[in-house]
C-alpha cells in the first residue's frame, strides 16, 4: 500500500512546483487554505449554528428560511455553502444528507467531509436503503418515523438541524453546542 501513496505524493509535489513556476499558485496561499480547513472551518461552526437555533426561536426561523444568510450572522459562509439550506428533524421526520454523484457537502458549517461520506458505499446506499445505513451508524429509527434523504447533487448544500434533546433546559448555548456532533448535522446520528 505504500507504493501508490508515495507515487501520488511525488506527483502532487511536482504539480505544485510546476504551478508555482508558472505563477498560477502561491505556496503560502496553499498553506493558508490548509490552515483554514484543518484548524478553523469544521463541525464546531455547525454546532454553534444548531445551538443558537435551539435557544433563539427567531434565529431558528431565519435559519430555516434562508440558511446561507443565517449562518452569515455567525460569521460563516462562502465556498460550498453559498446556497445553504437547513432541514429540520422533527418528531415525525428524520433527514439524511448525501451526494450520490460526487461528495457535495456544506463546508462552512461542517468543514471537509469524512472519508466515509465520500465512499462508494455511502453514496450508493444512502438513497436506496437509508435505514440500513443508519442502523450501521447505530441509529435504528422506528418504522413510523419518516426518513427523508436529500441527494445534494446540484447547487444547494444541506445541513440537518437535529432535535434538541429532552431535559436540556438548564444548558446554555455553549453547553448545547458541545453536545452537537457532525453526524447529527449529516443525519447519521440524532444529535
Amino acid at each position: 500500500m505504500a507504493q501508490p501513496d508515495d507515487d501520488i505524493a511525488l506527483r502532487v509535489q511536482a504539480l505544485e512546483q510546476a504551478l508555482v513556476a508558472k505563477g498560477l499558485v502561491d505556496p503560502a496561499a496553499l498553506a493558508a487554505f490548509v490552515d483554514a480547513y484543518e484548524n478553523r472551518i469544521g463541525p464546531k461552526n455547525g454546532a454553534r449554528v444548531v445551538a443558537r437555533a435551539w435557544t433563539d426561536p427567531a434565529y431558528k426561523a431565519r435559519l430555516l428560511e434562508n440558511g446561507a444568510a443565517a449562518i452569515g450572522e455567525l460569521g460563516y459562509g462562502g465556498l460550498q455553502g453559498e446556497n445553504l439550506v437547513v432541514v429540520e428533524n422533527t418528531a415525525d421526520t428524520h433527514n439524511l444528507i448525501v451526494c450520490t454523484l460526487c461528495s457535495c457537502y456544506p463546508w462552512p458549517v461542517l468543514g471537509l467531509p469524512p472519508v466515509w461520506y465520500k465512499s462508494p458505499a455511502y453514496r450508493a446506499r444512502a438513497v436506496k436503503e437509508p435505514r440500513a445505513v443508519l442502523k450501521e451508524f447505530g441509529l435504528d429509527l422506528p418504522a413510523e418515523m419518516q426518513v427523508r434523504v436529500w441527494d445534494s447533487s446540484a447547487e444547494i448544500r444541506y445541513m440537518v438541524l437535529p432535535r434538541r434533546p429532552a431535559e436540556t433546559q438548564h444548558l446554555d448555548e455553549r453547553e448545547l453546542a458541545a453536545m452537537v456532533t457532525r453526524d447529527g448535522m449529516i443525519g447519521t446520528a440524532t444529535i
Partner: protein, 212 residues
C-alpha cells in the same frame, strides 16, 4: 454521462465504515492537493462543473481504486492540460495567483452559481406533479440514473442557477430554475421500499416535464 460516479442505488460496495480518528487530511500531499484545487481557479478560472466533468471521465477501475484527492489530481491535471498551462507559452489569460492574505476573504466570498436569469421562466410551482426526463447524455449531467423517468412533485423553487450540463460542456452557464423535487421511496426503488420514506433531489427545469 452514465459513469461509475453515478452510483446512487448501486449494491456491492459493502458497509459504510467510518475510520478511526477521522483526520481532516491523511498525508501532506492530501493537504497540498486540496489547496491546489482550491487555489488554481483564482488564476485559471474553472467551475466545479468542469472539475466534476473531468472526474467523471476517469476510467471506472481507476475511479474506484483512487482516493478522493487522487481523483482531484487527475481532474486538475486534465483541466490544466486543456488550458495548455504547462506549454512553453504558458496558459493564456491567467490571473495573478491568489495571495495568502486574501485566502480567508476568498473562502468567505465563495463562488456562487446562483445567477440572474431574467428570461428564464419557472415552468413549475411548488406542489406541481412532474416526471423527470429519461436523458442519457454522454456529457456531464446532474440528473442521476436512479431518478430518470420517475414521478415526483415540486417541493421548492431555489431560484435560477448556472445549468451544470450546459456549463460543463462549454456552452456557457445558461441559467435556469432549480427545484427541490420530492420522490417517494417506492417510486424510486419499487414496492419493497418503505411506504413512508421519501427523497429530495435538486433538479433543473430542463430535466422536468409536467406529469398528467
Amino acid at each position: 454521462m452514465n459513469g461509475i460516479h453515478d452510483m446512487g442505488g448501486m449494491d456491492g460496495f459493502g458497509a459504510v465504515v467510518p475510520e478511526a480518528g477521522e483526520p481532516v487530511f491523511h498525508a501532506e500531499w492530501e493537504k497540498r492537493m486540496f489547496a491546489i484545487a482550491a487555489a488554481v481557479p483564482f488564476a485559471l478560472p474553472f467551475a466545479d462543473d468542469h472539475l466534476r466533468r473531468e472526474i467523471e471521465r476517469i476510467p471506472p477501475v481507476v475511479y474506484l481504486g483512487s482516493s478522493y484527492y487522487e481523483l482531484w489530481y487527475h481532474a486538475i491535471m486534465a483541466l490544466l492540460a486543456e488550458r495548455n498551462a504547462f506549454s512553453p507559452a504558458g496558459p493564456q489569460g491567467a490571473n495573478p495567483p491568489l495571495q495568502a492574505d486574501a485566502v480567508d476573504a476568498a473562502i468567505l466570498a465563495g463562488a456562487t452559481t446562483r445567477m440572474a436569469a431574467p428570461h428564464a421562466v419557472a415552468r413549475f410551482q411548488p406542489g406541481d406533479a412532474v416526471v423527470t426526463r429519461n436523458i442519457n447524455p454522454h456529457d456531464h449531467t446532474r440528473l442521476p440514473r436512479y431518478a430518470r423517468g420517475r414521478h415526483g412533485a415540486i417541493l421548492r423553487n431555489h431560484g435560477t442557477f448556472s445549468f451544470a450540463d450546459s456549463n460543463a460542456r462549454g456552452d456557457g452557464p445558461s441559467p435556469q430554475h432549480l427545484y427541490a423535487v420530492r420522490f417517494t421511496a417506492q417510486e424510486l426503488w419499487g414496492p419493497d421500499a418503505s411506504r413512508r420514506d421519501d427523497l429530495v433531489l435538486d433538479l433543473w427545469d430542463a430535466y422536468l416535464e409536467p406529469a398528467s
